[in-house]
Symmetry: C2
Subunit: 210 residues, 2 copies
Amino acid sequence: MQKVSDWTIHRLSSYHRLLSEFANEGKEYISSHELAQRAGATPAQVRRDLSCFGTFGTKGKGYLVADLISKITSILGIDRDWRVALVGAGRLGSALFSYKEFRKRNFHIVAVFDSDRHKVGKHWADVQIDHPDDMKSIVRQRKVDIGVIAVPADTAQSVANAMVDAGIKAILNFAHRKLFVPDGVTLRNVNMAMELETLSYVMTKNRTRR
Amino acid sequence: MQKVSDWTIHRLSSYHRLLSEFANEGKEYISSHELAQRAGATPAQVRRDLSCFGTFGTKGKGYLVADLISKITSILGIDRDWRVALVGAGRLGSALFSYKEFRKRNFHIVAVFDSDRHKVGKHWADVQIDHPDDMKSIVRQRKVDIGVIAVPADTAQSVANAMVDAGIKAILNFAHRKLFVPDGVTLRNVNMAMELETLSYVMTKNRTRR
DNA sequence: CGCAGTACGTGAATCTTTTCACAACCCAGT
DNA sequence: ACTGGGTTGTGAAAAGATTCACGTACTGCG
Ligand SMILES: NC(=O)c1ccc[n+]([C@@H]2O[C@H](COP(=O)([O-])OP(=O)(O)OC[C@H]3O[C@@H](n4cnc5c(N)ncnc54)[C@H](O)[C@@H]3O)[C@@H](O)[C@H]2O)c1
Ligand SMILES: NC(=O)c1ccc[n+]([C@@H]2O[C@H](COP(=O)([O-])OP(=O)(O)OC[C@H]3O[C@@H](n4cnc5c(N)ncnc54)[C@H](O)[C@@H]3O)[C@@H](O)[C@H]2O)c1
């Protein structure tokens, strides 16, 4: 199998969401053109992205919506439950915990950790907040697949290390810091500050030019 | 001036943060090699990124840390205050509002909007929550530069339209939906769901292969 | 001063991603 | 069965981003 770029995966993710909309609208077939339009991509790109994983369309007709949804679902691996551990029960952590899209997409937060002794022992819904020292055993017990980091930047790397040590193979990081993880562990970042600075850059550039 | 890619800007943003660390450590000069190492990039990339904007280094010596910080600060346009309007005073909105990094980086939330009549009129710190109907006049009055969207996905596009209508030229969107804005308005997205699905994809792929 | 060492800046090469463009194919209507 | 309109899947070209590699220029030291 060829290498598939991250961007293709990101786009598949948006195709997936859009296809659900099309399904709700009662559409049976959809062309690469229509899908591209709503996704803000080009038809060629849609076809190329899909062709990385097989041939799903019917020439002259387009893609069968229901079929394509289930194909992408299985490519992305979101046809199963994923068990998530959240580290950092602060403001962002609490927003994430109560974020319903999570659950809807089969990502279940099964453990919450915080180093603050005042928070340890409390319950969020049916999940008890535990101390990071117990991460290893709890991660194993609850079969955690994914770790989410929502702690201050300067402790993020040590949390990542603890996650790796506990056997977690996939980490989503919200802290504004570059983290390093060993091969075999996948790390993704969500980085608001960078996006804000991109906005700032574009506005500044336009101002000085015009 | 040549076109500069988004990735260069993202990297400049991380160089900027790392340079502050180096400054704190008391380092006076830094080489592209050292910077690259901490940034998880290559020395050539660091030099190429910087060279888009001028020549800041000293051959044989490296870059003067303090100087480079101020150069990047001015390139990114973060040497001034930016005035931000937050739309959606929900869980994410409240996390964002109380996020201190914001203020530290000179991004000030000067207006908050929510369509929920129970929330309108309340105060968050010294900012009153207003109704989106008043967006246009308030945005003008308070000289808002940047709009942040933290409303449910299905109202995000209409909020974006209102922002554009109010004269906002830069939007940061947290809703999991592709938004369309006219030319001249810059849109950036922060998309957690996509990153989660990327993790899911990678784990699924590895599982089926090994 | 002159020389050895170091690290920048950048043209050229390489690698990656996107776009183009068209053969192959399906379907509906006659 | 044939035709015309429409859409896929994919080589090949184009565009874009990264890496290489080297000329150049500065530093520090004797
Ligand atoms: N608040 C936001 O809107 C926002 C947005 C984007 C990114 N972030 C990032 O998310 C992270 C958390 O932000 P926040 O606003 O929720 O901060 P916060 O201070 O509200 O919460 C951080 C929590 O982490 C806990 N913690 C600290 N060290 C820990 C450790 N070693 N192990 C476990 N728990 C630990 C603290 O006790 C606290 O409860 C930061 O890195 C921030 O940059 C926040
Ligand atoms: N909660 C999270 O951790 C999280 C993480 C990532 C992305 N998001 C996204 O952020 C958005 C908000 O999430 P949330 O969890 O804060 O939801 P929420 O329901 O807690 O808050 C949404 C707020 O938006 C307000 N609102 C609705 N329509 C509005 C309109 N037209 N104008 C102004 N205000 C309006 C509601 O009154 C509510 O207060 C969603 O799109 C979600 O996908 C949330």
